[in-house]
């Protein structure tokens, strides 16, 4: 019994000593660890749609994890799948994600419904955001969708899209004595004259008509809503809107067969192979005619500003942002990630190491390194990109139509109606009158006060 008792007492003492040592170890080195790895043990959950930006970023994430001690669980899905998942998650007040992609077309909805955290709380705190991170460095036009009327900021843009015009067969145009079109009328003429020459279509496009069409509507002086974001009464049957619809429907007569069901990839491919001469879309889809290895028309291509309408010159632009859900569990850690992912250093590395040029930091886009990398055959693509991306923030924010939460409803009606006009099912005026009624009915059904 004695032996047992002695053994028991030794064990207890050892246990006490060990506990004390562990407590001491835990108490003293802890601040040191906290200073170097402030988020050790945190697993950050984020989500976005699949995009080259994130594929590239994933290569750098281990460095971030090493610096901060946190683990990043980034879930990437197809664009529509992500939008559905995130929309449901945020709308139901879920806290599954610490950071999310704030998709351009959902931004206004999420901001208006208060589903995102105001990032000004982080940028205004010098302990959380150093001065050199400079939130004002983000191109203003790309930041417009992520702001509310009170000045809150609900996202920082990681990707900008600026509508440019790519021409793949300048050789054919020169043969025919045609110049780069600068107006709608010239565009119509060039497309009609090139169409069919050497089997080349005059223009190519894709099925997201509510993205491709509004610059023409606005070019003739129309709009999707009367005066968004304040007055969201649809304006689909104004003479200017009808003119824009008719113009774009006529333009697509010079497009390849089946263009109404083309995806973006199909349109891009028809441009890169020189099967279509003109493609007007976001820079990331158009500039590959000069930059991509796949391009068979590098020598005969030009990338320029898209043509101006008789009333306005409103090339479309958009951006995608990173934000933090209102109910996120690890907001500070999420901000740390956003700060890192959109830092000038990472942005520049993406440009230099991977040629990823659609970043939104002005200091990067205007840097010598960026200009050197993005000037091809004497064409400064960065300057074009910046010029278009900034336009909505100058004076009238003409892209506001796309950021109001009611846009998807009206956009869907516009998509369907345009196809009815383009395929000759209805004259433009009748189709747009019906579209106006349908849009109003659909908005009212959805609870919108008009």
């Amino acid at each position: 019994m004695k032996t047992v008792s002695r053994m028991s007492s030794i064990t207890r003492r050892k246990l006490l000593e060990a506990s004390a040592a562990t407590a001491a170890l835990a108490a003293f080195p802890a601040p040191l660890i906290a200073q170097t790895k402030p988020f050790a043990g945190v697993t950050l959950h984020g989500a976005s749609f699949q995009h080259r930006f994130f594929t590239l970023l994933q290569k750098y994430i281990p460095e971030f994890e090493e610096q901060t001690g946190m683990k990043v669980d980034l879930q990437l899905s197809a664009f529509p799948v992500y939008n559905q998942q995130a929309n449901l998650e945020l709308s139901s007040g879920g806290s599954a994600y610490d950071f999310v992609n704030v998709t351009f077309i959902l931004a206004a909805r999420w901001v208006a419904a208060g589903l995102l955290a105001d990032l000004n709380e982080f940028t205004n705190d010098p302990n959380l955001t150093p001065a050199e991170w400079n939130p004002k460095d983000f191109v203003e036009g790309a930041q417009v969708p992520y702001r509310d009327a009170k000045g809150g900021t609900y996202g920082y843009s990681w990707e900008g899209g600026a509508m440019l015009m790519g021409l793949s067969r300048m050789d054919l145009m020169e043969k025919k004595g045609l110049k780069i079109p600068k107006t709608f009328a010239e565009l119509q003429q060039v497309c009609a004259e090139i169409n069919g020459t050497d089997g080349v279509a005059g223009i190519t496009s894709f099925q997201l008509h509510h993205w491709n069409l509004p610059p023409y509507i606005q070019g003739f002086g129309g709009n999707i809503f009367k005066k968004p974001p304040g007055d969201i009464m649809p304006a689909l049957n104004t003479p200017e809107t009808i003119q824009g619809i008719e113009f774009y429907a006529n333009l697509l007569r010079s497009a390849p067969k089946g263009v109404l069901t083309y995806t973006e990839d199909q349109a891009r491919q028809s441009l890169l192979t020189g099967r279509a001469n003109i493609f007007i879309h976001s820079s990331a889809w158009v500039t590959p005619i000069l930059l991509s290895e796949e391009s068979k028309v590098k020598e005969t291509s030009r990338v320029v500003r898209s043509p101006a309408g008789p009333v306005h010159d409103h090339p479309a632009s958009n951006s995608q942002g990173l934000g933090i859900p209102k109910n996120a569990k690890n907001k500070k850690a999420a901000w740390e990630f956003i700060k890192w992912a959109l830092s000038p250093e990472i942005s520049m590395r993406l440009v230099k190491e991977h040629g990823h040029s659609s970043v939104c930091r002005r200091s990067i886009i205007t840097s010598d390194d960026y200009r050197k990398l993005n000037t091809v055959n004497g064409q400064d693509l960065g300057a074009l990109y910046l010029e278009v991306l900034e336009l909505p923030a100058k004076g009238d924010n003409y892209m506001a139509y796309r950021t109001v939460k009611e846009f998807p409803i009206v956009g869907d009606v516009l998509n369907k109606t345009f196809e009815q006009v383009a395929t000759g099912q209805l004259p433009a005026k009748d189709a747009m009158n019906a579209a106006q009624d349908q849009a109003i009915a659909a908005l009212r059904r959805a609870g919108t006060q008009l």
């Binding site: 419904a113 109404l260 199909q266 869907d412 196809e419 019906a434």
Partner: protein
């Protein structure tokens, strides 16, 4: 133990044995259906807080449906798609079964070959037809070009888009009716047709008076299954036409999808889905009733 006691015991045992399956069935089938019906009574919009539990005007969505031209159009498109799709599948499936109902090694191989479309995942079928219908890359269009024949872009043509979907749907599901009819044909005793031959009946008369009465119940059952299934032609429409051009191929389930996931009108979309569910249930019950009546008359 008395007879009624034994019966009671048996009933309790049956109920006890069935309970787990019924609970699972209730959880996976009945609960979501109840949720769907409940949601259809609200103006649920994802970005409108509180709308999921707003029952102030429970029949509002249903009252709006008859005045919604896209919903009405989608029903008509669905009816056309179902009618022509089922007709071709039953007709061609039967013809193919009649053609291949012969004992031969080659025919056996051909039968297996014909079943492939049915076992492919629907999205793969849609991708195959996307390739066939895309003018730039389709062998169909290359062949037409070689023959100096101009083909319209089928999936974006007002006149051909729905036909294009019907063709793809028929290709996918024809093997089902083929298989059903072939199985029925193989159960017909040879004596009947031999007797008819001896009586001087022609091949057409043998088919009409001997074969067809035998396979009619199978044709009805196959048609019913295909009719119910035709409402689910979603992947083909999603990938080939997106419901277009305009609303030419916009069937009801695609419209419900757009409402729920494009414009976030979950409540209204649920109402559309409930109506669709009732229509399918009504048609199914009608066909079952017709089958029973036919049996009773026979």
């Amino acid at each position: 133990m008395s007879q009624s006691g034994i019966d009671g015991e048996r009933r309790r045992f049956i109920a006890f044995a069935l309970a787990p399956s019924l609970i699972v069935l209730f959880a996976v089938a009945v609960l979501p259906a109840i949720y769907l019906v409940v949601t259809s009574l609200t103006p649920f919009q994802l970005t409108t807080p509180g709308s999921a539990t707003d029952f102030s005007a429970p029949l509002r969505n249903y009252a709006l449906l008859p005045g919604d031209p896209r919903f009405v159009n989608s029903l008509a498109v669905q009816a056309k798609l179902s009618f022509w799709g089922v007709l071709f599948q039953v007709l061609f499936g039967m013809l193919l079964a009649l053609l291949l109902n012969v004992p031969s090694r080659f025919v056996e191989f051909a039968r297996t070959f014909f079943l492939i479309p049915m076992v492919l995942p629907p999205i793969v079928v849609a991708v195959i037809w996307k390739l066939i219908y895309t003018p730039d890359i389709s062998p169909l269009y290359y062949a037409a070009q070689a023959l100096h024949f101009t083909m319209p872009a089928l999936t974006s043509s007002v006149d051909f888009a729905l036909t294009a979907i019907i063709i793809a749907d028929t290709w996918e599901w024809l093997p089902f009716t083929f298989l059903m009819v072939l199985a029925a044909l193989q159960t017909i005793p040879n004596e009947y047709s031999e007797a008819a031959l001896v009586d001087g009946a022609s091949t057409l008369q043998i088919f009409w008076y001997v074969t067809l009465p035998f396979i009619t119940p199978i044709l009805v059952v196959s048609g019913m299954f295909r009719l119910i299934d035709s409402v689910k032609a979603f992947p083909l429409i999603f990938l080939l036409t997106s419901g277009g051009p305009g609303t030419v191929t916009e069937v009801t389930n695609y419209y419900a999808y757009l409402l729920a996931f494009d414009t976030n009108e979950i409540g209204y979309s649920s109402a559309v889905t409930v109506v669709m569910l009732l229509l399918v249930a009504g048609i199914s019950l009608g066909l079952v009733w017709m089958g029973r009546r036919r049996e009773a008359l026979a």
